[in-house]
Amino acid sequence: MNWLRTSSFFSIAAVLAFTTVIWYGAAVYLNSDVLIDKYDRKKIEWNFSKLVEDSWAMKRPVMPAPHQIMLDMKKSIFGYKISSKRSLVYHGWVTISSTLVGFAMGAVLGILLAVGIVHVSTLNKSVLPWIIASQTIPILAIAPMVIVVLGAIGVTGLLPKAIISAYLCFFPIAIGMVKGLRSPDPMHLDLMKTYNASKSQTFYKLRWPTSTPFLFASFKVSIAISLVGAIVGELPAGARAGLGARLLTGSYYGQTVQIWSALFVASIIAGSFVYLMTVMENRVQKRMGVQA
């Protein structure tokens, strides 16, 4: 039972229980207007306990109750073949694949930009402002254009979505790595100078290892952002597949339960990615002799 005391199990469980209680209450409150309207129109006798019961079991609630979302998730994850258009596994995988490709592209781009900015002073002055400006453009505005322009030259499917995702996620990596690659102790840099080390030796033997904490911190932010990018990339272009498509069709047809279960799956995916990054970080840090 010792792990119970040392792990964060209780604090997480407490927050979860608290949120659930609030949620059920909110579901009653938010759905009551619609229900009371319906009772009045159909002249149905009602009391509070009937209201509560009905508000947790509506087909198209304003706010679905947690168990409705869970049941819908269970049905759409385990209830269909994973190749079915109704399966959340299928839609989830479509989003995951463009997230991962987008993250990989964003990571490479971000790191290359940071290396350039740290080593070439003209890049520092010219590129950095553009990188920051790039993030002031709302992604919702630029995403359809990326899809349309790439579609016009015959690029469709996963790649345009991955590009939108990369557009969002390279930024924290570039900024984090500029900071990280500049973080070596001046004494460590002087040491390299006394050995007459070349720029690339200083990079591989000093700047890169020093920046690993920054790398993982920005990876954790970026992987979650690149999921958002992938979902946003699925919204235009008819939205045939992916969690973004589920959100869009859900809102077309007022399927709030479907929207919520797609949101839940998206946050479970994001949470798992961040967790995987933390596991990787711990492995790398252990190999780098960080005190446990």
Partner: protein
């Protein structure tokens, strides 16, 4: 017994730093000669430019006036040839490398082959009495041990000149005494030329063949004292009249250079 090969020669060296507060005169009219096998201490209060002078010899700073030569070359040429090993105030070990990995760092950069890297790191680790600690990470060692690794790292590529910037300054007195004794022995065995920055009078007196006393604002040399102590030294010697006389002279120099303003 020592032939007078000139290792460092400074003539009227000046260094002015341009800061946002206006120019700071760090060093003024420094004349200094260091011969092969000398153990030179630079001693003085904070801000007297002793570290800056060491950094000039190491080509980590450039003088704004005068001339400085290391092994009859410019400091830059000497640095490019790996003429010196530099030991910093802090151990400055790379925390992600083991002791052995840290010792191999300069050798990797200089392109020395793997078997030779292993042989030399083993050899220098023996010199500082740390055999068996190869696989430890820096945080697993005490401060004194870390500084010994840092000295060993400066010895791996066998430079003739060691530049040391208050290497024992952050250690407690007991460890410091031990390291002084140990390092004195190491110096005798290896016959290196050492330039040693300190602000401890007993340390300077115990280790040096020549003590350079400096004063601040602007940093300048006010006295150069030839040690009168015998070659062979023990810690007990610090209670002898000669040692006390030497310490007294250093202290007088420091006091003369200190304007109480």
């Amino acid at each position: 017994m020592k032939e007078n090969t000139r290792v460092v020669e400074a003539r009227k060296v000046d260094l002015v730093f341009q800061t946002s507060d206006g120019p700071v005169h760090a060093l003024s009219e420094i004349d200094l000669e260091i011969n092969k096998g000398d153990f030179i201490s630079l001693i003085g209060p904070s801000g007297c430019g002793k570290t800056t002078l060491l950094r000039l010899i190491a080509d980590l700073e450039k003088p704004t006036g005068g001339d400085i030569q290391v092994n009859e070359m410019t400091p830059e040429e000497a640095r490019l040839q790996g003429a010196y090993g530099y030991v910093f105030q802090a151990p400055a070990l790379y925390p992600w490398r083991t002791v052995e990995g840290n010792l191999k760092l300069p050798l990797e950069i200089m392109g020395i082959d793997k078997t030779e890297q292993a042989r030399r790191s083993k050899e220098v680790l023996e010199m500082v009495d740390l055999s068996g600690f190869e696989k430890k990470f820096p945080w697993q060692l005490s401060g004194g041990m870390q500084q010994r690794v840092s000295i060993a790292r400066a010895l791996t590529f066998n430079p003739d000149l060691l530049l040391m910037d208050e290497p024992f300054g952050a250690l407690d007195e007991i460890v410091r005494d031990q390291l002084n004794e140990h390092f004195h022995r190491l110096w005798e065995e290896t016959q290196k030329t050492v330039v040693f920055v300190t602000h401890s009078i007993p340390e300077a007196a115990y280790l040096s063949t020549k003590i350079v006393v400096m004063s601040p604002r602007p940093g300048k040399i006010i006295d150069i004292i030839e040690s009168t102590l015998p070659e062979k030294r023990t810690l007990d010697m610090r209670d002898t009249p000669e040692f006390l006389a030497l310490s007294h002279r250093i202290r007088e120099g420091l006091r003369a250079g200190h304007s109480y303003d």
